[in-house]
């Protein structure tokens, strides 16, 4: 594995499977009364959030604390583009404080890449979402959720998603989740189809390892998982689509459409959902919808990533957990 996790495209198939397998072990920890591992005791991780995202920050924080790391939360909201505290200044401050890893969320595409590659800081950098570029841990937790549901919790160990048909629906143009998922799912052998109005598909998509369709109804019957992306209402003001109603009629997932999916197929959403826009309440609350599981899986996957990036050659997760059990 590389030293940083900036893009889902940085991961090989074996890297990704190792992360998913490790995450399964981490998930077992969550089922125990004491949910803590001593693995990262004495290590300091900074959650550097230039963009507000309570959900993602809490997920990383939970993962870090379960691994016994010391956590610094640094919210630099609003200062990304303004001439306040620059990314570089912040990075150098963290470097001076001796942090062992930085989890960064930033509104500007490429900010984590710059942080990792500009010599401003030495610690491993984990991208927690940058602009409309990448959100690799989201893609990993999505893949983890799919493998569990479509292959099986134990049966899935060591396996990828070969041959699974995954449909991603919505605002692909502005979505780091879509970009990360296309990269990772392709690496894991899945067949990805993007569905969106043409206005919300980027020019240049033709080189992506996936299919593009403008018709949700045609793709649904051939999907093992359907991932609905959040669509911001404001997009209609920039003429990406005429009205909210027309969008949800053509690209929203309601119960009637869900019924056209194969019986085993699941509905996913990275959250936060806009109910009534891309997804109806009925679908969101159905047991085929994995939104809540995705949140829980997010912690396990982030534990796995932190462990693998920071734990280095130390024993696998099971070893320290056994030690802990003897205490």
């Amino acid at each position: 594995m590389k030293r940083h996790l900036i893009s889902a495209a940085d991961l090989t198939r074996d890297d990704a499977v190792l992360i998913l397998d490790t995450a399964e072990e981490m998930a077992r920890v969550a089922d125990r009364p004491i949910k803590k591992l001593p693995t990262l005791r004495g290590r300091t991780i900074c959650n550097l959030f230039f963009e507000d995202s309570t959900r993602t920050r809490i997920s990383f924080e939970a993962a870090e604390k379960r691994l016994s790391a010391d956590v610094i939360n640094f919210a630099a909201k609003g200062s990304s583009v303004s001439k306040g505290e620059s990314l570089k200044d912040t990075a150098q401050t963290l470097e001076a404080m001796g942090v062992d890893a930085v989890v960064i969320r930033h509104g500007a595409s490429g900010a984590p890449y710059r942080l990792a590659n500009s010599g401003w800081i030495d610690a491993p950098v984990i991208n927690a979402g940058d602009g409309t570029h990448q959100h690799p841990t989201q893609a990993l937790l999505d893949a983890f959720t799919m493998r569990r549901r479509l292959v099986g919790r134990d049966a899935g160990l060591g396996k990828d998603l070969a041959g699974r048909r995954i449909t991603i629906v919505g605002d692909v143009l502005h979505s780091r989740v879509a970009r990360s998922n296309v990269d990772l799912l392709h690496t894991l052998g899945a067949e990805v189809t993007l569905v969106a109005p043409p206005t919300l598909v980027p020019v240049g998509v033709e080189t992506w390892p996936c299919e593009v369709s403008y018709s949700l109804d045609e793709v649904l019957p051939k999907s093992d998982a359907v991932m609905m992306l959040r669509v911001q209402r404001e997009r209609m003001n920039a003429a990406f689509f005429p009205t909210e109603r027309e969008y949800s009629r053509r690209y929203g997932l309601d119960a009637a459409r869900m019924a056209r999916m194969p019986e085993h197929a699941i509905v996913m959403h990275p959250g936060p959902m806009v109910r009534g826009m891309e997804i109806t309440a009925e679908v969101a609350d159905s047991d085929r919808c994995t939104v809540v599981e995705q949140v829980a899986n997010g912690v396990s996957v982030r534990m796995a990533v932190l462990y693998l990036l920071l734990g280095g050659s130390e024993p696998a997760v099971t070893a320290p957990s056994r030690t802990e059990e003897t205490k």
């Binding site: 990304s80 930033h106 595409s109 490429g110 710059r114 409309t132 570029h133 980027p202």
Partner: protein, 429 residues
Amino acid sequence: MSKTLIRGAKVLGGEAQDVLIDGETISEVGTGLSADGATVVEAAGQVLLPGLVDLHTHLREPGREDSETVLTGTRAAASGGYTAVFAMANTFPVADTAGVVEQVYRLGKESGYCDVQPIGAVTIGLEGKKLSELGAMHESAARVTVFSDDGKCVDDAVIMRRALEYVKAFGGVIAQHAQEPRLTEGAQMNEGIVSAELGLGGWPAVAEESIIARDVLLAEHVGSRVHICHLSTAGSVEIVRWAKSRGIDVTAEVTPHHLLLTDELVRSYNPVYKVNPPLRTERDVMALREALADGTIDIVATDHAPHPHEDKDCEWAAAAMGMVGLETALSVVQQTMVETGLLDWAGVAERMSFAPARIGGLSHLHGRPVSAGEPANLTLVDTSYRGVVDPAGFASRSRNTPYEGRELPGRVTHTFLRGRTTVVDGKLA
């Protein structure tokens, strides 16, 4: 009067000749000229060009003296072999009055490294709403003939039409920065395969091409002359080629960086590659080279755009757009146009000296033939030189070059401004 003999230089890349400078003027060109009483510059193997003329320079003064001043910018120009530069109007305050253009003109005179010809803003404050006093700027001491809102596009079709018409009265020309503003809201890089992957706002080629298409048609309609700044796409080339074939009075420039670099470099997210118009694709680069060779594009202009370190040492979206270029332009042209066989040195002289002086109305002073009786504005180039670009050695106040660490050919050894050396043996005099 001091005399200088440049001995054995290949004039415009042709036969080796001696050039004798007497005072401010070339007094003799020939072989075996007497060195009596003259300082001798041994130039065997080197190429002698007319002093280069840059139609598109940002000198930043007044207002952004932290990135460049007229003095540092003209020193950079001299280092790059230039004897005249046109200073863009997007300063603070904007060069939209006779007072500001005269100030820049005077600062240029004081610097002594390179002539500075101010460009006036087309509209007040570059806001695209009301015409600046174009006539007053033309009649000022600065004698402005080129007008541009560069940095911004004159996007209102009526304002553009009126500007094109109005400056005909005194032989002026509008230099358009072709960028349809609505199509480029939030734009960060060329829109295409790379922007799709990187998640950076796309800057479509059509945003440039649609304005150029409109403006050549406007120029035809009102019988005016229009100049297109930093043309960057294959489609723009096609439009200009079509316009010229129709007899429309259009000229166009290309920057050195658009002749060499592509949007693939943006994958590094290093803002040193962030520029307006953005770096395009390999296909565009090849089309631009071909167009510069066949005359569709008339000239090379640097769009020298200095920025302080902190404006580039940040994340891509927060970074300023632009690159310095005066000190590397000739080397990039040598690599992309001469060493590829697309242009000979006479062709370079046409595109970097004669034509820009003509377009800018400066050909009574610059872009003159290398012959007896002409002003001694000359550039001597060691074309066999190979060196790695080190911005620490730049004369410019800014270091935002995309070529750091890159090997480029050629080096300006001497620059003469009206007979006086501004560069000697590769160093500023």
